[in-house]
Assembly symmetry: C2
Homo-oligomer: 301 residues x 2
DNA sequence: ATGAGCCCATAAACTGACCTTATGAGCCTC
DNA sequence: GAGGCTCATAAGGTCAGTTTATGGGCTCAT
Protein backbone atom coordinates (compact mmCIF):
# COMPACT_ATOMS: atom_id res chain seq x y z
CA UNK A 1 0.00 0.00 0.00
CA UNK A 2 1.48 3.27 1.10
CA UNK A 3 4.97 4.60 1.37
CA UNK A 4 5.66 3.02 4.72
CA UNK A 5 5.42 -0.44 3.28
CA UNK A 6 7.68 0.26 0.36
CA UNK A 7 10.31 2.53 1.86
CA UNK A 8 12.55 1.22 4.64
CA UNK A 9 12.38 3.14 7.88
CA UNK A 10 14.92 5.78 8.80
CA UNK A 11 16.95 3.42 10.93
CA UNK A 12 17.44 1.08 8.00
CA UNK A 13 18.44 3.96 5.74
CA UNK A 14 20.98 5.17 8.28
CA UNK A 15 22.33 1.67 8.53
CA UNK A 16 22.70 1.52 4.77
CA UNK A 17 24.67 4.76 4.79
CA UNK A 18 26.89 3.38 7.51
CA UNK A 19 27.53 0.26 5.46
CA UNK A 20 28.47 2.44 2.51
CA UNK A 21 30.92 4.36 4.68
CA UNK A 22 32.54 1.43 6.42
CA UNK A 23 32.39 -1.35 3.87
CA UNK A 24 31.33 -3.80 6.53
CA UNK A 25 28.01 -4.82 8.04
CA UNK A 26 29.54 -5.46 11.43
CA UNK A 27 31.22 -2.10 11.73
CA UNK A 28 28.15 -0.34 10.43
CA UNK A 29 26.14 -2.14 13.08
CA UNK A 30 28.49 -0.91 15.76
CA UNK A 31 28.19 2.65 14.50
CA UNK A 32 24.42 2.70 14.74
CA UNK A 33 24.44 0.85 18.02
CA UNK A 34 23.02 -2.56 17.13
CA UNK A 35 24.60 -6.00 16.86
CA UNK A 36 25.93 -7.51 13.70
CA UNK A 37 23.13 -10.08 13.21
CA UNK A 38 20.55 -7.34 13.55
CA UNK A 39 22.27 -5.37 10.84
CA UNK A 40 22.55 -8.41 8.63
CA UNK A 41 18.89 -9.17 8.97
CA UNK A 42 17.85 -5.60 8.50
CA UNK A 43 19.81 -5.12 5.31
CA UNK A 44 18.48 -8.40 4.03
CA UNK A 45 14.92 -7.44 4.72
CA UNK A 46 15.51 -4.13 3.01
CA UNK A 47 16.78 -5.96 -0.06
CA UNK A 48 13.73 -8.21 0.00
CA UNK A 49 11.45 -5.26 0.23
CA UNK A 50 13.09 -3.40 -2.64
CA UNK A 51 13.66 -6.49 -4.72
CA UNK A 52 17.24 -5.48 -5.46
CA UNK A 53 20.58 -6.66 -4.11
CA UNK A 54 22.18 -3.70 -2.39
CA UNK A 55 25.47 -5.04 -1.04
CA UNK A 56 27.94 -7.63 -2.23
CA UNK A 57 28.85 -9.68 0.79
CA UNK A 58 32.17 -11.37 1.01
CA UNK A 59 34.27 -12.83 3.75
CA UNK A 60 36.36 -9.69 3.61
CA UNK A 61 33.56 -7.19 3.93
CA UNK A 62 30.61 -5.79 2.05
CA UNK A 63 30.56 -3.35 -0.80
CA UNK A 64 27.60 -1.65 -2.37
CA UNK A 65 26.36 -3.00 -5.67
CA UNK A 66 25.80 -0.52 -8.46
CA UNK A 67 22.11 -0.41 -7.64
CA UNK A 68 23.06 -0.14 -3.99
CA UNK A 69 25.07 2.99 -4.67
CA UNK A 70 22.12 4.63 -6.36
CA UNK A 71 19.74 3.61 -3.59
CA UNK A 72 22.20 4.90 -1.04
CA UNK A 73 22.21 8.31 -2.69
CA UNK A 74 18.44 8.49 -2.54
CA UNK A 75 18.54 7.26 1.04
CA UNK A 76 20.97 10.01 1.90
CA UNK A 77 18.53 12.63 0.77
CA UNK A 78 15.85 11.18 2.98
CA UNK A 79 18.19 11.08 5.94
CA UNK A 80 19.30 14.64 5.34
CA UNK A 81 15.72 15.80 5.30
CA UNK A 82 15.18 13.91 8.53
CA UNK A 83 18.19 15.62 10.07
CA UNK A 84 16.79 19.00 9.15
CA UNK A 85 13.47 17.95 10.65
CA UNK A 86 15.25 16.92 13.80
CA UNK A 87 17.28 20.10 14.11
CA UNK A 88 14.19 22.21 13.66
CA UNK A 89 12.02 20.17 15.96
CA UNK A 90 14.64 20.15 18.65
CA UNK A 91 14.85 23.92 18.51
CA UNK A 92 11.11 24.17 18.64
CA UNK A 93 10.90 22.05 21.73
CA UNK A 94 12.97 24.05 24.19
CA UNK A 95 10.50 26.81 24.60
CA UNK A 96 12.06 28.59 27.51
CA UNK A 97 15.31 28.87 29.42
CA UNK A 98 17.30 27.76 26.43
CA UNK A 99 20.79 29.03 26.11
CA UNK A 100 20.14 30.40 22.68
CA UNK A 101 16.76 31.77 21.73
CA UNK A 102 16.23 32.48 18.05
CA UNK A 103 13.32 34.26 16.42
CA UNK A 104 12.97 33.95 12.67
CA UNK A 105 10.62 34.72 9.85
CA UNK A 106 8.77 31.79 8.37
CA UNK A 107 10.77 31.38 5.18
CA UNK A 108 14.06 31.40 7.02
CA UNK A 109 12.82 29.13 9.79
CA UNK A 110 11.49 26.72 7.25
CA UNK A 111 14.25 26.50 4.71
CA UNK A 112 17.51 27.81 6.08
CA UNK A 113 17.63 27.60 9.81
CA UNK A 114 17.58 23.81 10.09
CA UNK A 115 20.75 23.64 8.01
CA UNK A 116 22.49 26.19 10.22
CA UNK A 117 21.37 24.36 13.33
CA UNK A 118 22.81 21.10 12.06
CA UNK A 119 26.11 22.91 11.58
CA UNK A 120 25.86 24.56 14.96
CA UNK A 121 25.26 21.23 16.61
CA UNK A 122 28.30 19.81 14.88
CA UNK A 123 30.47 22.47 16.47
CA UNK A 124 28.70 22.91 19.82
CA UNK A 125 26.73 19.79 20.57
CA UNK A 126 25.46 21.00 23.93
CA UNK A 127 23.89 24.26 22.89
CA UNK A 128 20.16 24.13 23.44
CA UNK A 129 18.41 26.29 20.90
CA UNK A 130 14.85 27.47 20.95
CA UNK A 131 12.99 28.86 17.99
CA UNK A 132 10.07 31.19 17.54
CA UNK A 133 8.70 31.78 14.09
CA UNK A 134 6.75 34.87 13.14
CA UNK A 135 6.75 37.87 10.85
CA UNK A 136 9.29 40.69 11.00
CA UNK A 137 7.33 42.68 13.56
CA UNK A 138 7.07 39.72 15.90
CA UNK A 139 10.79 39.02 15.56
CA UNK A 140 11.64 42.63 16.38
CA UNK A 141 9.32 42.60 19.35
CA UNK A 142 10.82 39.41 20.75
CA UNK A 143 14.33 40.83 20.43
CA UNK A 144 13.50 44.15 22.03
CA UNK A 145 11.64 42.48 24.88
CA UNK A 146 14.66 40.31 25.59
CA UNK A 147 12.78 37.15 24.66
CA UNK A 148 15.19 36.25 21.90
CA UNK A 149 18.95 36.50 21.48
CA UNK A 150 19.14 36.56 17.73
CA UNK A 151 16.62 37.16 15.00
CA UNK A 152 16.29 36.59 11.29
CA UNK A 153 14.04 38.64 9.08
CA UNK A 154 13.36 38.92 5.39
CA UNK A 155 12.25 42.17 3.95
CA UNK A 156 13.28 45.52 2.67
CA UNK A 157 14.79 47.15 5.72
CA UNK A 158 16.05 46.55 9.24
CA UNK A 159 13.20 47.09 11.69
CA UNK A 160 13.69 50.17 13.89
CA UNK A 161 15.67 49.62 17.06
CA UNK A 162 17.66 46.76 15.60
CA UNK A 163 21.05 46.34 14.01
CA UNK A 164 21.64 43.71 11.41
CA UNK A 165 23.74 42.21 8.68
CA UNK A 166 22.71 40.66 5.42
CA UNK A 167 23.18 36.89 5.57
CA UNK A 168 21.72 35.99 2.22
CA UNK A 169 19.52 37.03 -0.59
CA UNK A 170 16.28 35.65 -1.76
CA UNK A 171 14.34 36.33 -4.91
CA UNK A 172 10.67 36.06 -5.45
CA UNK A 173 10.04 34.12 -8.59
CA UNK A 174 7.01 34.04 -10.79
CA UNK A 175 6.44 30.37 -11.47
CA UNK A 176 3.95 28.50 -13.58
CA UNK A 177 3.18 24.95 -14.53
CA UNK A 178 5.09 23.85 -17.63
CA UNK A 179 1.87 23.75 -19.62
CA UNK A 180 0.90 27.27 -18.74
CA UNK A 181 1.26 29.71 -21.65
CA UNK A 182 3.69 31.83 -19.61
CA UNK A 183 6.10 28.91 -19.46
CA UNK A 184 6.65 29.19 -23.21
CA UNK A 185 6.95 32.92 -23.53
CA UNK A 186 9.98 34.30 -25.21
CA UNK A 187 9.66 37.86 -23.96
CA UNK A 188 9.82 38.60 -20.25
CA UNK A 189 6.62 39.57 -18.51
CA UNK A 190 6.06 43.24 -17.99
CA UNK A 191 5.29 44.29 -14.42
CA UNK A 192 1.97 45.66 -15.64
CA UNK A 193 1.01 42.28 -17.07
CA UNK A 194 1.93 40.60 -13.81
CA UNK A 195 0.00 43.13 -11.81
CA UNK A 196 -3.07 42.63 -13.99
CA UNK A 197 -3.10 38.84 -13.72
CA UNK A 198 -4.83 36.96 -10.90
CA UNK A 199 -2.22 34.88 -9.08
CA UNK A 200 -2.05 32.10 -6.55
CA UNK A 201 -0.70 33.70 -3.40
CA UNK A 202 -0.22 33.05 0.26
CA UNK A 203 -2.96 34.20 2.48
CA UNK A 204 -0.94 35.45 5.40
CA UNK A 205 1.83 36.44 3.05
CA UNK A 206 3.39 39.18 5.08
CA UNK A 207 6.89 38.68 3.69
CA UNK A 208 6.10 37.67 0.16
CA UNK A 209 3.08 39.85 -0.17
CA UNK A 210 4.85 42.93 1.09
CA UNK A 211 7.64 42.71 -1.46
CA UNK A 212 5.22 41.97 -4.26
CA UNK A 213 2.93 44.82 -3.34
CA UNK A 214 5.72 47.32 -3.17
CA UNK A 215 7.29 46.15 -6.44
CA UNK A 216 4.00 46.40 -8.28
CA UNK A 217 2.66 49.49 -6.55
CA UNK A 218 3.67 51.65 -9.47
CA UNK A 219 1.85 49.41 -11.95
CA UNK A 220 -1.60 49.47 -10.52
CA UNK A 221 -1.02 47.17 -7.58
CA UNK A 222 -1.54 43.43 -7.38
CA UNK A 223 -4.73 42.08 -8.92
CA UNK A 224 -7.30 40.27 -6.84
CA UNK A 225 -5.71 36.87 -6.15
CA UNK A 226 -6.96 33.77 -7.93
CA UNK A 227 -6.49 31.75 -4.76
CA UNK A 228 -5.23 32.61 -1.32
CA UNK A 229 -3.79 29.62 0.45
CA UNK A 230 -2.54 28.99 3.94
CA UNK A 231 0.91 27.54 3.34
CA UNK A 232 3.76 27.84 0.90
CA UNK A 233 3.33 24.23 0.00
CA UNK A 234 -0.33 24.63 -0.78
CA UNK A 235 0.60 27.43 -3.14
CA UNK A 236 3.21 25.27 -4.81
CA UNK A 237 0.79 22.41 -5.20
CA UNK A 238 -1.78 24.68 -6.76
CA UNK A 239 0.77 26.08 -9.19
CA UNK A 240 2.06 22.62 -10.15
CA UNK A 241 -1.43 21.37 -10.95
CA UNK A 242 -1.91 24.34 -13.22
CA UNK A 243 -4.35 26.40 -11.20
CA UNK A 244 -2.41 29.49 -12.21
CA UNK A 245 0.89 31.31 -11.87
CA UNK A 246 2.24 31.87 -8.38
CA UNK A 247 4.87 34.05 -6.76
CA UNK A 248 7.13 32.20 -4.40
CA UNK A 249 10.49 32.42 -2.74
CA UNK A 250 13.31 30.96 -4.75
CA UNK A 251 14.18 28.88 -1.71
CA UNK A 252 10.82 27.17 -1.79
CA UNK A 253 10.96 26.03 -5.39
CA UNK A 254 14.51 24.92 -6.14
CA UNK A 255 13.38 21.32 -6.23
CA UNK A 256 10.42 21.95 -8.47
CA UNK A 257 12.46 24.02 -10.89
CA UNK A 258 15.18 21.40 -11.14
CA UNK A 259 12.70 18.65 -11.92
CA UNK A 260 10.74 21.04 -14.14
CA UNK A 261 7.46 20.59 -12.35
CA UNK A 262 7.48 24.38 -12.32
CA UNK A 263 9.03 26.89 -14.67
CA UNK A 264 10.29 30.31 -13.68
CA UNK A 265 8.91 33.17 -15.76
CA UNK A 266 11.26 36.13 -16.19
CA UNK A 267 9.90 39.55 -15.35
CA UNK A 268 11.36 42.68 -16.89
CA UNK A 269 12.29 45.66 -14.85
CA UNK A 270 10.84 44.78 -11.47
CA UNK A 271 13.21 43.93 -8.64
CA UNK A 272 11.96 41.06 -6.57
CA UNK A 273 15.06 40.58 -4.51
CA UNK A 274 14.85 40.83 -0.81
CA UNK A 275 17.55 40.68 1.77
CA UNK A 276 17.70 38.04 4.47
CA UNK A 277 19.17 39.60 7.58
CA UNK A 278 20.34 38.50 10.96
CA UNK A 279 19.23 41.14 13.48
CA UNK A 280 19.77 42.00 17.14
CA UNK A 281 18.92 44.87 19.46
CA UNK A 282 20.79 48.00 18.35
CA UNK A 283 24.13 48.27 20.08
CA UNK A 284 24.13 44.76 21.57
CA UNK A 285 26.26 42.71 19.24
CA UNK A 286 25.58 39.01 19.79
CA UNK A 287 27.97 37.07 21.98
CA UNK A 288 28.39 33.43 22.94
CA UNK A 289 26.31 30.89 21.06
CA UNK A 290 24.37 33.61 19.25
CA UNK A 291 27.63 34.79 17.79
CA UNK A 292 28.47 31.26 16.69
CA UNK A 293 25.17 30.89 14.92
CA UNK A 294 25.61 34.29 13.32
CA UNK A 295 28.99 33.18 12.08
CA UNK A 296 27.47 30.08 10.52
CA UNK A 297 24.78 32.00 8.74
CA UNK A 298 27.15 34.54 7.19
CA UNK A 299 30.09 32.32 6.51
CA UNK A 300 31.67 34.69 4.07
CA UNK A 301 33.26 36.80 6.81
CA UNK B 1 20.60 8.54 20.69
CA UNK B 2 20.28 8.53 16.96
CA UNK B 3 17.86 10.03 14.52
CA UNK B 4 15.43 7.15 14.71
CA UNK B 5 14.60 7.90 18.30
CA UNK B 6 14.03 11.58 17.74
CA UNK B 7 12.34 11.67 14.37
CA UNK B 8 8.95 10.02 13.94
CA UNK B 9 8.78 7.29 11.35
CA UNK B 10 7.53 7.91 7.84
CA UNK B 11 4.06 6.61 8.59
CA UNK B 12 3.63 9.15 11.36
CA UNK B 13 4.86 11.96 9.13
CA UNK B 14 2.43 10.97 6.40
CA UNK B 15 -0.32 10.91 8.96
CA UNK B 16 0.60 14.39 10.08
CA UNK B 17 0.41 15.64 6.50
CA UNK B 18 -2.99 14.02 6.14
CA UNK B 19 -4.18 15.74 9.31
CA UNK B 20 -2.98 19.06 7.92
CA UNK B 21 -4.90 18.44 4.73
CA UNK B 22 -8.15 17.24 6.26
CA UNK B 23 -8.36 19.09 9.54
CA UNK B 24 -9.47 15.95 11.28
CA UNK B 25 -7.70 13.02 12.88
CA UNK B 26 -10.41 10.59 11.90
CA UNK B 27 -10.44 11.52 8.25
CA UNK B 28 -6.67 11.53 8.15
CA UNK B 29 -6.73 8.05 9.64
CA UNK B 30 -9.06 6.86 6.95
CA UNK B 31 -6.82 8.32 4.27
CA UNK B 32 -3.77 6.45 5.43
CA UNK B 33 -5.75 3.30 6.10
CA UNK B 34 -5.74 3.02 9.87
CA UNK B 35 -8.43 3.51 12.49
CA UNK B 36 -9.10 6.73 14.34
CA UNK B 37 -7.74 5.59 17.71
CA UNK B 38 -4.53 4.50 16.06
CA UNK B 39 -4.15 7.93 14.54
CA UNK B 40 -4.94 9.64 17.80
CA UNK B 41 -2.36 7.65 19.66
CA UNK B 42 0.22 8.06 16.96
CA UNK B 43 -0.10 11.83 16.82
CA UNK B 44 0.01 11.98 20.58
CA UNK B 45 3.15 9.91 20.78
CA UNK B 46 4.71 12.12 18.13
CA UNK B 47 3.92 15.19 20.22
CA UNK B 48 5.43 13.52 23.27
CA UNK B 49 8.55 12.67 21.37
CA UNK B 50 8.97 16.19 19.99
CA UNK B 51 7.87 17.91 23.17
CA UNK B 52 5.60 20.26 21.23
CA UNK B 53 1.85 20.37 20.71
CA UNK B 54 1.22 19.91 17.02
CA UNK B 55 -2.55 19.98 16.68
CA UNK B 56 -5.33 21.79 18.46
CA UNK B 57 -8.05 19.25 19.07
CA UNK B 58 -11.60 20.30 19.36
CA UNK B 59 -14.92 18.55 19.12
CA UNK B 60 -15.26 20.00 15.66
CA UNK B 61 -11.94 18.83 14.29
CA UNK B 62 -8.23 19.40 14.63
CA UNK B 63 -6.13 22.21 13.29
CA UNK B 64 -2.37 22.53 13.29
CA UNK B 65 -0.80 24.76 15.89
CA UNK B 66 1.73 27.29 14.70
CA UNK B 67 4.56 24.98 15.65
CA UNK B 68 2.64 22.17 14.02
CA UNK B 69 2.56 24.04 10.74
CA UNK B 70 6.32 24.46 10.82
CA UNK B 71 6.88 20.82 11.72
CA UNK B 72 4.52 19.77 8.98
CA UNK B 73 6.55 21.66 6.42
CA UNK B 74 9.72 19.93 7.53
CA UNK B 75 7.86 16.62 7.54
CA UNK B 76 6.76 17.25 3.98
CA UNK B 77 10.33 17.50 2.83
CA UNK B 78 11.14 14.17 4.42
CA UNK B 79 8.11 12.55 2.84
CA UNK B 80 8.97 14.00 -0.56
CA UNK B 81 12.46 12.60 -0.33
CA UNK B 82 10.95 9.26 0.62
CA UNK B 83 8.66 9.41 -2.41
CA UNK B 84 11.64 10.04 -4.64
CA UNK B 85 13.38 7.10 -3.00
CA UNK B 86 10.35 4.97 -3.65
CA UNK B 87 9.98 6.01 -7.26
CA UNK B 88 13.62 5.30 -7.93
CA UNK B 89 13.69 2.04 -6.06
CA UNK B 90 10.58 0.80 -7.74
CA UNK B 91 12.11 1.50 -11.12
CA UNK B 92 15.28 -0.25 -10.09
CA UNK B 93 13.43 -3.35 -9.05
CA UNK B 94 11.76 -4.36 -12.25
CA UNK B 95 14.90 -5.45 -13.95
CA UNK B 96 13.40 -7.25 -16.90
CA UNK B 97 10.19 -7.49 -18.87
CA UNK B 98 9.07 -4.11 -17.70
CA UNK B 99 6.79 -2.14 -19.91
CA UNK B 100 9.14 0.83 -19.87
CA UNK B 101 12.87 0.38 -19.63
CA UNK B 102 14.87 3.53 -19.01
CA UNK B 103 18.63 3.95 -19.13
CA UNK B 104 20.07 7.11 -17.65
CA UNK B 105 23.32 8.73 -16.70
CA UNK B 106 24.12 8.91 -13.03
CA UNK B 107 23.35 12.56 -12.44
CA UNK B 108 19.99 12.33 -14.12
CA UNK B 109 19.08 9.04 -12.46
CA UNK B 110 20.00 10.44 -9.11
CA UNK B 111 18.49 13.89 -9.15
CA UNK B 112 15.88 14.24 -11.85
CA UNK B 113 14.42 10.91 -12.80
CA UNK B 114 12.72 10.18 -9.47
CA UNK B 115 10.71 13.36 -9.81
CA UNK B 116 9.63 12.47 -13.32
CA UNK B 117 8.70 8.97 -12.22
CA UNK B 118 6.51 10.32 -9.45
CA UNK B 119 4.70 12.40 -12.05
CA UNK B 120 4.48 9.45 -14.43
CA UNK B 121 2.95 7.31 -11.72
CA UNK B 122 0.40 9.99 -11.02
CA UNK B 123 -0.79 9.85 -14.61
CA UNK B 124 -0.26 6.15 -15.34
CA UNK B 125 -0.24 4.26 -12.09
CA UNK B 126 0.18 0.85 -13.70
CA UNK B 127 3.26 1.49 -15.77
CA UNK B 128 6.12 -0.63 -14.51
CA UNK B 129 9.39 1.13 -15.10
CA UNK B 130 12.87 -0.28 -14.93
CA UNK B 131 16.02 1.75 -14.65
CA UNK B 132 19.62 1.19 -15.60
CA UNK B 133 22.19 3.75 -14.65
CA UNK B 134 25.49 4.15 -16.44
CA UNK B 135 27.58 6.56 -18.46
CA UNK B 136 26.63 7.84 -21.90
CA UNK B 137 28.27 4.96 -23.74
CA UNK B 138 26.40 2.40 -21.67
CA UNK B 139 23.12 4.20 -22.24
CA UNK B 140 23.71 4.26 -25.98
CA UNK B 141 24.60 0.60 -26.01
CA UNK B 142 21.48 -0.37 -24.08
CA UNK B 143 19.29 1.58 -26.47
CA UNK B 144 20.87 0.21 -29.62
CA UNK B 145 20.73 -3.35 -28.29
CA UNK B 146 17.02 -2.94 -27.60
CA UNK B 147 17.53 -3.30 -23.86
CA UNK B 148 16.06 0.10 -23.12
CA UNK B 149 13.18 2.11 -24.52
CA UNK B 150 14.32 5.57 -23.57
CA UNK B 151 17.62 6.98 -22.46
CA UNK B 152 18.91 10.11 -20.77
CA UNK B 153 22.44 11.35 -21.18
CA UNK B 154 24.38 14.39 -20.13
CA UNK B 155 27.21 15.62 -22.24
CA UNK B 156 28.26 17.59 -25.22
CA UNK B 157 26.67 15.71 -28.08
CA UNK B 158 24.15 13.05 -28.96
CA UNK B 159 25.92 9.69 -29.17
CA UNK B 160 26.07 8.30 -32.74
CA UNK B 161 23.11 6.24 -33.83
CA UNK B 162 20.70 8.05 -31.56
CA UNK B 163 18.25 10.90 -31.90
CA UNK B 164 17.50 13.15 -29.00
CA UNK B 165 16.05 16.33 -27.61
CA UNK B 166 17.35 18.60 -24.92
CA UNK B 167 15.28 18.21 -21.76
CA UNK B 168 17.27 20.45 -19.51
CA UNK B 169 20.53 22.15 -18.86
CA UNK B 170 23.04 21.64 -16.17
CA UNK B 171 26.01 23.70 -15.21
CA UNK B 172 29.13 22.54 -13.54
CA UNK B 173 29.94 24.85 -10.68
CA UNK B 174 33.18 25.47 -8.94
CA UNK B 175 32.27 25.39 -5.27
CA UNK B 176 34.26 25.99 -2.12
CA UNK B 177 33.65 26.10 1.59
CA UNK B 178 32.67 29.58 2.78
CA UNK B 179 36.00 29.94 4.55
CA UNK B 180 38.02 29.14 1.49
CA UNK B 181 39.78 32.18 0.02
CA UNK B 182 38.00 31.65 -3.29
CA UNK B 183 34.67 32.22 -1.60
CA UNK B 184 35.63 35.84 -1.00
CA UNK B 185 37.12 36.68 -4.33
CA UNK B 186 35.78 39.64 -6.15
CA UNK B 187 37.18 38.81 -9.54
CA UNK B 188 36.10 35.63 -11.32
CA UNK B 189 38.60 32.81 -11.55
CA UNK B 190 40.47 32.52 -14.77
CA UNK B 191 40.34 29.13 -16.43
CA UNK B 192 44.10 28.93 -16.15
CA UNK B 193 43.92 29.39 -12.38
CA UNK B 194 41.31 26.69 -12.16
CA UNK B 195 43.33 24.36 -14.31
CA UNK B 196 46.40 24.92 -12.16
CA UNK B 197 44.66 24.22 -8.84
CA UNK B 198 44.31 20.73 -7.38
CA UNK B 199 40.60 20.02 -6.93
CA UNK B 200 38.37 17.51 -5.25
CA UNK B 201 36.83 15.46 -8.03
CA UNK B 202 34.85 12.36 -8.66
CA UNK B 203 36.85 9.33 -9.37
CA UNK B 204 34.73 7.71 -12.04
CA UNK B 205 33.53 11.05 -13.17
CA UNK B 206 32.83 10.30 -16.80
CA UNK B 207 30.23 13.02 -17.18
CA UNK B 208 31.67 15.72 -14.98
CA UNK B 209 35.24 14.92 -15.77
CA UNK B 210 34.69 14.93 -19.49
CA UNK B 211 33.19 18.39 -19.55
CA UNK B 212 35.84 19.75 -17.24
CA UNK B 213 38.68 18.26 -19.25
CA UNK B 214 37.38 19.62 -22.51
CA UNK B 215 36.71 23.08 -21.07
CA UNK B 216 40.20 23.31 -19.63
CA UNK B 217 42.04 21.53 -22.41
CA UNK B 218 43.20 24.82 -23.86
CA UNK B 219 44.56 25.98 -20.52
CA UNK B 220 46.95 23.20 -19.77
CA UNK B 221 44.46 20.55 -18.73
CA UNK B 222 43.18 19.73 -15.29
CA UNK B 223 45.77 19.58 -12.52
CA UNK B 224 46.39 16.40 -10.60
CA UNK B 225 43.36 16.09 -8.31
CA UNK B 226 43.66 16.80 -4.62
CA UNK B 227 41.29 13.93 -3.86
CA UNK B 228 39.40 11.51 -6.04
CA UNK B 229 36.29 10.23 -4.38
CA UNK B 230 33.76 7.58 -5.25
CA UNK B 231 30.49 9.45 -4.99
CA UNK B 232 29.10 12.89 -5.56
CA UNK B 233 28.20 13.11 -1.92
CA UNK B 234 31.68 12.27 -0.79
CA UNK B 235 32.97 15.11 -2.96
CA UNK B 236 30.43 17.49 -1.46
CA UNK B 237 31.33 16.45 2.05
CA UNK B 238 35.01 16.99 1.37
CA UNK B 239 34.33 20.42 -0.09
CA UNK B 240 32.09 21.45 2.80
CA UNK B 241 34.69 20.51 5.36
CA UNK B 242 37.19 22.67 3.53
CA UNK B 243 39.40 20.03 1.98
CA UNK B 244 39.51 22.12 -1.17
CA UNK B 245 37.43 23.46 -4.04
CA UNK B 246 35.34 20.99 -6.00
CA UNK B 247 33.56 20.96 -9.33
CA UNK B 248 30.04 19.61 -9.16
CA UNK B 249 26.78 19.61 -11.00
CA UNK B 250 24.48 22.45 -10.12
CA UNK B 251 21.80 19.88 -9.42
CA UNK B 252 23.87 18.28 -6.73
CA UNK B 253 24.52 21.41 -4.72
CA UNK B 254 21.35 23.51 -4.75
CA UNK B 255 20.72 22.67 -1.12
CA UNK B 256 24.24 23.48 0.01
CA UNK B 257 24.28 26.76 -1.87
CA UNK B 258 20.95 27.83 -0.42
CA UNK B 259 22.07 27.15 3.13
CA UNK B 260 25.51 28.57 2.35
CA UNK B 261 27.42 25.51 3.34
CA UNK B 262 29.06 25.90 -0.04
CA UNK B 263 29.69 28.97 -2.16
CA UNK B 264 29.81 29.03 -5.95
CA UNK B 265 32.92 30.62 -7.41
CA UNK B 266 32.42 32.35 -10.75
CA UNK B 267 34.75 31.40 -13.56
CA UNK B 268 35.44 33.76 -16.43
CA UNK B 269 35.24 32.72 -20.00
CA UNK B 270 34.92 28.97 -19.66
CA UNK B 271 31.61 27.39 -20.55
CA UNK B 272 30.65 24.68 -18.11
CA UNK B 273 27.14 24.14 -19.38
CA UNK B 274 26.10 20.79 -20.57
CA UNK B 275 22.91 19.62 -22.10
CA UNK B 276 20.73 16.98 -20.57
CA UNK B 277 19.11 15.02 -23.36
CA UNK B 278 16.51 12.36 -23.78
CA UNK B 279 17.69 9.96 -26.47
CA UNK B 280 16.36 7.03 -28.47
CA UNK B 281 17.53 4.92 -31.43
CA UNK B 282 17.70 7.09 -34.53
CA UNK B 283 14.44 7.04 -36.43
CA UNK B 284 12.41 5.27 -33.72
CA UNK B 285 10.55 8.03 -31.93
CA UNK B 286 9.33 6.80 -28.57
CA UNK B 287 5.74 5.62 -28.30
CA UNK B 288 3.49 4.49 -25.48
CA UNK B 289 4.77 4.97 -21.96
CA UNK B 290 8.17 6.12 -23.19
CA UNK B 291 6.46 8.96 -24.96
CA UNK B 292 4.62 9.88 -21.79
CA UNK B 293 7.81 9.99 -19.78
CA UNK B 294 9.48 12.02 -22.51
CA UNK B 295 6.59 14.46 -22.33
CA UNK B 296 7.04 14.80 -18.60
CA UNK B 297 10.72 15.49 -18.87
CA UNK B 298 10.33 18.18 -21.54
CA UNK B 299 7.12 19.73 -20.35
CA UNK B 300 7.70 22.86 -22.36
CA UNK B 301 6.34 21.33 -25.53
C1' DA C 1 49.44 -25.86 8.14
C1' DT C 2 47.09 -24.32 12.02
C1' DG C 3 45.19 -20.88 15.06
C1' DA C 4 43.65 -15.99 15.48
C1' DG C 5 40.86 -12.65 13.70
C1' DC C 6 38.15 -10.70 10.66
C1' DC C 7 33.93 -11.28 7.83
C1' DC C 8 28.79 -12.83 7.39
C1' DA C 9 24.51 -16.13 8.22
C1' DT C 10 21.26 -18.68 10.91
C1' DA C 11 18.33 -20.01 14.96
C1' DA C 12 15.48 -19.21 18.96
C1' DA C 13 13.55 -16.44 22.28
C1' DC C 14 12.31 -11.65 24.00
C1' DT C 15 10.44 -7.04 23.66
C1' DG C 16 7.83 -3.34 22.40
C1' DA C 17 5.59 -0.42 19.16
C1' DC C 18 1.58 -0.27 16.70
C1' DC C 19 -2.55 -2.05 15.42
C1' DT C 20 -7.75 -3.20 16.12
C1' DT C 21 -12.12 -3.50 18.52
C1' DA C 22 -15.09 -1.62 21.98
C1' DT C 23 -16.60 2.05 24.46
C1' DG C 24 -17.32 6.78 26.41
C1' DA C 25 -17.66 11.79 26.49
C1' DG C 26 -18.12 16.53 24.36
C1' DC C 27 -20.21 19.52 20.94
C1' DC C 28 -23.37 20.83 17.12
C1' DT C 29 -27.59 20.44 14.19
C1' DC C 30 -32.11 19.35 13.39
C1' DG D 1 -32.94 14.72 22.78
C1' DA D 2 -31.49 11.80 18.77
C1' DG D 3 -28.02 11.36 15.53
C1' DG D 4 -24.18 13.28 13.57
C1' DC D 5 -19.59 14.46 14.02
C1' DT D 6 -15.33 15.05 16.86
C1' DC D 7 -11.41 12.90 19.96
C1' DA D 8 -9.80 9.85 24.13
C1' DT D 9 -9.15 5.67 26.70
C1' DA D 10 -8.70 0.66 27.60
C1' DA D 11 -7.60 -4.17 26.60
C1' DG D 12 -5.74 -7.53 23.82
C1' DG D 13 -3.23 -9.35 19.46
C1' DT D 14 0.48 -9.27 15.99
C1' DC D 15 4.85 -8.71 14.00
C1' DA D 16 9.16 -6.48 13.04
C1' DG D 17 13.38 -5.91 15.01
C1' DT D 18 16.18 -7.01 18.73
C1' DT D 19 19.58 -9.96 21.48
C1' DT D 20 22.48 -14.01 22.55
C1' DA D 21 24.60 -18.07 20.86
C1' DT D 22 26.57 -20.48 17.35
C1' DG D 23 28.76 -21.90 12.88
C1' DG D 24 31.24 -21.49 8.49
C1' DG D 25 34.42 -19.03 5.08
C1' DC D 26 38.48 -16.40 4.05
C1' DT D 27 43.20 -14.40 5.08
C1' DC D 28 47.29 -13.66 7.43
C1' DA D 29 50.99 -14.59 10.51
C1' DT D 30 53.44 -17.64 12.96
Amino acid sequence: MSLTHRVPDLGALELLLAVARHGSLGRAAREVGITQPAASSRIRSMERRLGVALVDRSPRGSRLTEAGALVTDWARRVVEAAEAFDAGAQALRDRRDSRLRVAASMTIAEYLLPGWLIALRAGRPDTAVSLRAGNSAAVAEALLAGDADLGYVEGLAVPPGLDGVVVGRDRLLVVAAPRHPWARRRAPLTPAELAATPLVLREYGSGTRQVLDSALAGHGGVAEPLLELASTTAVKAAAVTGAGPAVLSELAVTEELASRRLVAVPVAGAEFRRELRAVWPAGHRPTGPARDLLGLSRPGD
